[in-house]
């Protein structure tokens, strides 16, 4: 992997600007949701509506984004029995649902005769694009919700091209801490991808 030369974007400039105030649903809320506790849906909506809506806007366009967002949360509620906390994060799972709903809406739009299409979707109605975008937005979001130190180290490794040793020097942490933080951070991101994949099942 280290041989792969990625063009590193400058995300530390913008990613660190992201509002980290969003509460990450804790295990209690997730369990309550799965068990059909309706108040948990409100928690999930508060925690994810910005992410879902932002994604929908980019796939289906601003005019349909709110409608599709609504579909996503209704679908999440109705299919809550199918969510398995051991198969990934709820955030990933909800984004997996969002991907389906956004692609559905794009196809439905394509079937409708258009008058003047002033609000053309910003993303082509290509499921691969919608997929890639969902994963990018999901991981961008998930990265922001890592514990602060782990987030910082993952960003230094990914975006600033630092070695673990350099990160240890930069953050004044032992090398072992750097490795374990990065590994735990990546494992957490992986759980989001797993949740996303679980929504396809």
């Amino acid at each position: 992997m280290s041989a792969l030369a990625f063009t590193a974007p400058p995300p530390s400039r913008y990613i660190s600007l992201v509002d980290r105030a969003r509460p990450t649903p804790d295990d209690d809320v997730v369990n309550a949701f799965v068990n059909g506790d309706e108040s948990a849906l409100k928690h999930l909506y508060d925690a994810h509506s910005r992410l879902v809506h932002s994604y929908c806007r980019r796939v289906v366009g601003a005019d349909l984004a709110a409608d599709v967002t609504q579909e996503v949360f209704i679908a999440a509620w109705k299919s809550r029995d199918r969510f398995r906390p051991d198969q990934g994060t709820l955030t990933g799972w909800i984004m997996g649902i969002a991907r389906f709903k956004a692609i559905d809406a794009t196809r439905a739009r394509a079937r409708r005769p258009q008058l003047v299409d002033e609000h053309a979707p910003e993303v082509a109605d290509d499921p691969t694009d919608a997929d890639d975008l969902a994963l990018r937005m999901l991981l961008t979001d998930a990265l922001q919700h890592l514990p602060e130190r782990a987030r910082q180290m993952v960003e230094l490794a990914f975006f600033e091209d630092l070695t673990h040793t350099e990160i240890a020097e930069r953050t004044n942490q032992p090398l072992g801490t750097v490795k374990s933080d990065i590994r735990r951070g990546l494992e957490r991101l992986r759980r989001n991808l797993e949740g996303f994949d679980a929504a396809r099942a």
């Binding site: 509002d19 910005r50 609504q70 937005m137 991981l139 091209d161 494992e187």
Partner: protein, 221 residues
């Protein structure tokens, strides 16, 4: 991008997942940060729709007069229906109370987080800024009076800056020399990292970056 995955894991599946993460993150752009809240009434719409659907389900259950066994699903639906009706009632109460408070103090549902007077740097005018927390998030509310530019100007622009005055984040363009500007803080902007409120004069030259010509400035605290 440098990833020393060999140092992190021996597990092939985990390694593959980490590589996938690296590929995805390396393709991210600033646009991939979620910044778009849905319309404020969307949650109410979701509540209303679920309530309608469950009410319909209840009707169909009740319609079968001989049905003496209530299915788990219908019971759940009824609970849901009750919940959402209760929620809707609670929302109405909150709205009613909120309206009263707003009428009385005009600050209902709004919490002052920080404020500052805006000092004059160039041109003319005066102003003050508040950072307020509302139900839908943080807003910057700026009052300005008698703004006048130091040089030729097409519009003014409200910014948030880092403490050292760098990295301007555009909030709003405006033209009125007196009045109130009320804008939500963009989701991507952490006001603790961007506490400086700045008003600049701008020329409509296609360059959307800060002109470097600030008229008023103050640090929220």
């Amino acid at each position: 991008m440098r990833l020393e995955l060999d140092e992190l894991t021996d597990d092939a599946a985990e390694r593959a997942a980490f590589e996938q993460i690296a590929v995805i993150l390396s393709a991210t752009t600033p646009e991939d940060v979620a910044t778009d809240d849905p319309p404020a009434d969307l949650w109410d719409q979701i509540v209303a729709r679920l309530r309608d659907e469950t009410a319909t389900a209840d009707t169909s259950v009740g319609g079968g007069a001989e049905a003496t066994v209530t299915s788990l699903e219908s019971r759940r639906n009824r609970n849901l229906s009750r919940y959402f009706m209760a929620t809707a009632a609670a929302v109405l109460v909150v709205v009613a109370v909120g309206a009263l408070v707003v009428n009385r103090t005009s600050t209902g549902g709004t919490e002052l987080v920080a404020s500052t007077d805006l000092g004059l740097l160039a041109g003319g005018g005066a102003g003050s800024a508040q950072l307020v927390q509302r139900a839908d998030g943080l807003h910057v509310v700026v009052d300005v009076s008698n703004l006048s530019p130091a040089e030729r100007q097409d519009f003014y622009e409200l910014w948030l800056l880092a403490p050292d005055g760098s990295n301007p984040q555009s909030l709003k363009k405006f033209t009125a020399s007196s009045g109130q500007i009320d804008v939500p803080v963009p989701a991507g902007v952490d006001t603790s990292s961007f506490p400086v409120v700045d008003i600049s004069e701008e020329v409509d030259d296609g360059d959307t970056s800060h002109s470097g010509k600030s008229i008023l400035r103050g640090t929220l605290s």
